[in-house]
């Protein structure tokens, strides 16, 4: 998996510039809800480098969900820049954003968000369908991704036939299959019991060691402790940004 990442990503050779994977400059987001104007994010500045493992924490209403949406190209900022891998994505068209999500963002959600009528293999293949990849290559890559998360014996199972932990693994395989720039995980263990949750976090550790860049959104301190850097957001601004010395 990591070899593919390096080969496919022209900017990933170390030494070519030292630019970070994600650069956020003076980013603000406000929107109108009814008659109220909400200032969700205020003048955020942030850098995230390749192969970092970052946790973003904050209470509800802090703006962390909004921030995650912008990081994941599901939304665009009102002002400021979001530069991903050297390219400003803050004002891209809808189709271009879709392409970004397809190729560079690997989403992992709290409630898995698999398509219930498709089996595991089809779910994992789906991003590649939207990439326009041919079916043999699709199948091959999907099988490898499922193998990586340890579900080779479940490829024809549907969601309803799998446990929570297995579903999340399928979701992770789906996120990995396009060799994305970042894995963006929103409360990945929120719907799992603590034992299964730990297994998933161990998997994330492995993926991090293999070279993936992981951004974790959580409100649980124990989960955030797996990351190597924790950013606290409060009232739409970065409150603190510290390395997690226990993990270095």
């Amino acid at each position: 998996m990591d070899i593919n990442k390096i080969e496919n990503n022209p900017n990933s050779h170390s030494g070519i510039g030292d630019h970070s994977l994600i650069e956020i400059k003076s980013l603000s987001k406000d929107y109108v809800m009814g008659e109220v104007e909400v200032l969700a994010l205020k003048d955020i500045n942030l850098q995230i480098h390749r192969n970092e493992y970052v946790a973003i924490m904050g209470p509800s209403g802090s703006g962390k969900s909004t921030f995650m949406n912008i990081l994941g190209c599901l939304d665009t900022p009102t002002t400021g820049e979001y530069i991903f891998n050297g390219m400003d994505v803050s004002s891209l068209s809808d189709d271009a954003l879709s392409a970004m999500r397809n190729k560079e963002i690997g989403f992992i959600f709290q409630n898995f968000n698999l398509l219930p009528r498709l089996n595991a293999l089809q779910n994992v293949e789906l991003p590649l369908v939207y990439s326009g990849i041919k079916s043999e290559e699709r199948r091959e890559r999907a099988l490898r991704a499922l193998d990586r998360v340890g579900l080779s014996d479940r490829i024809h199972h549907k969601s309803s036939e799998m446990s929570g932990g297995q579903r999340q693994r399928v979701a992770i395989a789906r996120a990995l299959v396009t060799n994305p720039g970042i894995l963006l995980a929103d409360e990945p263990t929120g719907a799992l019991d603590s034992k299964t949750g730990d297994e998933i976090m161990v998997l994330f550790d492995e993926l991090h060691k293999e070279g993936n860049t992981i951004i974790l959104i959580t409100h649980e301190q124990e989960i955030a402790n797996y990351a190597h850097r924790t950013i606290h957001i409060k009232d739409g601004m970065i409150h603190s940004d510290n390395a997690n010395h226990q993990r270095k």
Binding site: D95, S98, R101, F107, L126, P127, Y130
Partner: protein, 388 residues
Amino acid sequence: MLGIIFGVASVITMLSIGEGAKREAIAKYQDLGVNNIIIRDKKMTDEELEEVRAKFSQGLSQEDASVIKEIVPGVVRTASQSEISSEAKYSDKSAKSMVIGITPDYVEMLNYKTARGKFITEDQYQKELKVCVLGAGVAATLFRSEDPIGKMVKIEDQWMEVVGVLKSKTLFTETVGELAARDLNMDVYVPLTTFLGRFSHENQLASEIQQITIQVDGSDKLEEASKVIDEILKRHHYNNEDYSIVVPYELLQQEEKERQIYNFLLGAIAAISLLVGGIGIMNIMLATVMERTREIGIRRAIGARKSDIMSQFVTEAVAISITGGIIGVVLGVTLSLTVTLFTDITTFIQPYSIFIAFGFSVLVGISFGYLPAKNAANLKPIDSIRYE
């Protein structure tokens, strides 16, 4: 989908009934002769007949026929016929039949084919021979399986030699203008010259000729010809209206016009059905889009563009309408065949009607699937994913 099925089925059934009726009408008029004008001696009561004779009209005559042949533009042939209702007898059997004296041009002008022997010839006509040609029904009744050719049949008090038997004709079940419905298979044909010499009408005042059939050399000549004929007969009959002019082609066209109104109505019904069906699909799709909001959000999150979502849902709408279309076609064809089987309405299924109906169902799918698909594509991914 029910609307589509019904709409498509009704389109096919209506079209097939319409086409069947059209073909039936054409066949019927073809028997009468598409390029023919038929002049009939009007059926009148004895009092009316007396009155007309008193006003100098002798009714239809051979003279009328020859003048018409000479003067009227575009006339190719004329044939005159005289008729009496009588009986044909052979050994111990008898058949009620219409005995018709005809001129030799007759067989050229109408679709009469002989099953055996030959029709009346010019020679037989000239020589006033006592020969006859039997309709298929008469021959069957009198001769069963025996060969009628050469046998002697008694009509009134005359013995006639059978020289031909006609093929069976389709029953003339409707009255066309003044042409009364009757079973043509029970007719017996003799030369007009023989007829006028040997048979006489029951009523002394009856016209010499009951029918003159005129053939023109093109249906475009019909209108003018019938006008001129009317002029001639008016003069000859001293303005007595004791005849009627029937132009089968005009009747055919009139029927065609009526049928067009009918077809239009049926078309409207079918169109409404398809519309209703389409609206049904649209509603189903709109509900489906609502149900699958989260699914749409997920697909968008992993990289589906708006156009990907649009084509997905339009395709689903078309799939529904095509399925409805196929069922509708099967139903429509079955219905048409059933109608023909159990009623005497003929139907004729034309391949193109199936394609049209099918094509419409696809069109409906695309049109009515468009709006729901657009709704789906325009959902915001963030909101959709959180939708429960």
